[in-house]
Symmetry: C2
Subunit: 459 residues, 2 copies
């Protein structure tokens, strides 16, 4: 199975889960994923959901074989703004040692690494004593709304597995792999303000009505303090600070603040007090504006006072924060700060997730009574060191993989998270790409660690 | 010449001047306007400009005939948001005694009133002793960028005329005509903020960088005080307060604040201190946000920190304010309030205009040495009273007609402004419309007042 050839084909299916216009792309990507799993040697089941089906690829075996759950998602983020792509988002190409296209890094490439590794490993060892459940969902980029019901239906099967291994997190560079020890949670909302019942001529009516853009700007501006903290009452209540070893491990990141500034293209960072920029994206909760829109946005000018405006907001959560609680507090703050003259509507987004900290007993191996999980961590560290010539670092990550915490809550399974994209991968942005050399080394590492887990048995 | 039939044809030409995609509509509307002027009995000249040509329709005659300049514009505002129109913007229909479509009220209907009146008057009085220069431009909705050069080229011809009569202002209702005694000026700018050099994943980078939406919200929020005044240093410097007679005349408006609230669909008004809502839109300067945009605005969610955001801003000016000065002050305030971590770009829009107060010597007739202008005011008052059964009121208006002040500055010509749309006309908004009964009465009034001016001679 050729990684580059298969990924190019996989990425051509424009599987944007958030937009019904991409139904063909979703179907095509799903069929491609099923085909890949079958060719790797797995039995495939497609589980229908109210929205996008979930794929299960299984390798069954006796109960004494270790049972690993692998995870990926075949859906991708929207590709907009399209005009900022060097080559079209869904016409992937190889250039400068990378594959460019939407989904190359998030997440088609990383889970294809595991599929290719599995295919090669099972070709070499047809009788490998390892059970596999390869789970590929299609709603990760919209918060996995169908996942809880799926988890309930498949709870027993999954609970009998030993651990999850997945790659949907970042590493700092193509030769420095990170094992992710925690993820931030996420909650989202869309705030809509309605002022006058229709757009008004700003000459004939300007000066009498509260402009909804002004009201929205005032609300949004009120949500942070000058010290870069979130100005929502009780937002930081119960927040747990990172351990000293976590800060120490993070200092091993091969990235200086100057390099980070250059990468971002900004002249200053704005972390919350007591944190460096590199720490803040991992240790601090946030309230971010992901989109804003209202009034005339076309060429030239149109002198209106708009009737409606909106802002899309997400909060990232750290240990100690509760998703429902943060949504309630942020909604209350927004409603309380809206001026007279505008009406506020708040839509809470599906797919909220708590933070996730895994596993206990870091930095290197988990505590507890699960020998397969402990071996998975040890084999991962060893396999990464072998394939990349450098040991991995164990760090928290700022992103969110909502289903990880769901799985642990419902099935007790912990996850080993191996980062297979880098800051240069442009996740959720134009010119998304994956480093081919990194992926090829990762395939070797996956082969080695799965073989090690299999040979260690269940004790 | 049938008013309704001609207006339906005229409006079908989608003459959106701000968008090059509407070149066909601009050409079609211009040809239609030329045809209408010719059929009314005028000689037509089309004056090329760098953008949209200006139409001149002339009726020449001896120097002792009064010489009136009539004005209109054949371009219209964009029709967005298209989904809020009951029937398509450029497929005009008659419904409930009104003609619905983009441009029916601003300004194709009102200047068609003057054309039809002229056609009927000249049909009855082929030898009427009246000179006409009918000027119809195509860039009013984008600030008339070609008009200054046109004015220079035609300065001598226009300077020899006696006054301007036009209808591009509002009346409070279909049976209460307003003569506009002043217009607000306008200046515009687009503010663009650039943060990180590309869109960032808000999980991987949120907490380290200044979100440009947040920065823009903070800048926009800083531009007003809680008392609804504009928070730009020196904004109100030199502002002249309205005269007591102006407030008294405004109280004749057949519109209560409760009715205005119901019309707008809001539960409160937010005028600057010391002014009612109805006064504020005429007497107070403003800074309004006409549009804002950035980040993901599509369906669902996309967790980005955008690289770029923008806001479109216009200020309305009242007597005592200078356009260049206000632009400089507003730009300086915006630049000074931008946080570190974002870059600010400000594009000043073409087509700024000073306020306009005309004529001196209100309330009813102008002072000064121009007997034709004085007669035009008196005949207008008399003709409106006759056609509508009620005398007009003399009030300031909140909108801006940039070329009016340009004309006076360059040629010395004052303007009689007769309002032929109403608040229900939905100017610059979906479901723009014109009251047919009001237009038919206005045609009679225009016939009568032009006949009166002609017969009064030049002394």
């Amino acid at each position: 199975m050729d990684f580059v050839k298969e990924l190019l084909e996989y990425v051509r299916h424009a599987s944007v889960s958030t937009d019904p216009a991409f139904a063909n792309g979703m179907n095509g990507a799903r069929e491609k994923a099923c085909d890949l799993l079958r060719r790797a040697g797995l039995e495939v089941e497609v589980v229908p959901t109210p929205l996008h089906p979930i794929i299960l690829g299984r390798r069954k075996g006796p109960a004494e074989w270790p049972h690993v759950v692998l995870y990926g998602h075949y859906d991708v983020q929207p590709a907009e703004p399209l005009d900022l792509w060097t080559t079209p988002a869904f016409e992937p190409v190889v250039r400068d040692g990378r594959i460019w296209g939407r989904g190359t890094a998030d997440n088609k490439g990383p889970h294809l690494v595991a599929i290719v590794a599995l295919a090669r490993l099972l070709a070499r060892h047809p009788n490998l004593p390892l059970r596999i459940t390869f789970l590929i969902e299609g709603e990760e980029e919209i918060g996995s709304p169908s996942f809880p019901a799926f988890l309930q239906a498949y709870k027993q099967e999954l609970s009998e597995a030993d651990c999850v291994i997945l790659s949907d997190t970042a590493s700092p560079s193509a030769d420095q792999i990170a094992i992710t020890t925690a993820l931030r949670g996420i909650v989202g909302m869309e705030v809509r303000l309605v002022g006058p019942q229709f757009d008004l001529h700003s000459g004939l009516h300007g000066g009498a009505v509260y402009n909804p853009i002004q009201a929205l700007a005032e609300i949004c501006a009120s949500l942070h303090l000058p010290d870069n903290t979130v100005a929502v009452e009780g937002f930081y209540e119960g927040v747990q600070q990172p351990a000293e070893w976590e800060r120490a491990e993070l200092r091993k990141l091969p990235l200086t603040e100057a390099q980070y500034l250059a990468f971002l293209g900004v002249d200053s960072l704005h972390p919350a007090p007591g944190l460096s920029g590199l720490e803040a994206v991992r240790f601090a909760p946030t309230l971010e504006f992901n989109g804003i829109g209202g009034g005339y946005q076309g060429k030239g000018s149109k002198t209106v006072i708009p009737s409606k405006v909106f802002a899309k907001i997400t909060c990232r959560l750290v240990p100690g924060m509760n998703p429902e609680d943060i949504l309630a507090k942020a909604s209350a703050a927004i409603r309380a700060r809206a001026p007279k003259g505008v009406k506020v509507e708040i839509e809470i987004k599906q797919g909220n997730a708590a933070y996730f900290v895994c596993p206990p007993g870091r930095p290197n191996t988990p505590k507890g009574q699960n020998p397969v999980l402990a071996r998975a961590f040890a084999e991962t560290e060893c396999a990464i060191t072998g394939a990349f010539g450098k040991p991995p670092i164990f760090v928290r990550e700022g992103g969110s993989v909502p289903i990880i915490e769901d799985i642990r809550r419902e099935t007790g399974l912990d996850s080993v998270m191996i980062g297979l994209f880098t800051p240069e991968s442009n996740l959720h942005a134009p010119d998304e790409n994956l480093d081919i050399g990194m992926a090829e080394k990762a395939i070797k590492a996956y082969e080695s660690l799965l073989e090690g887990v299999a040979k260690g048995g269940r004790k």
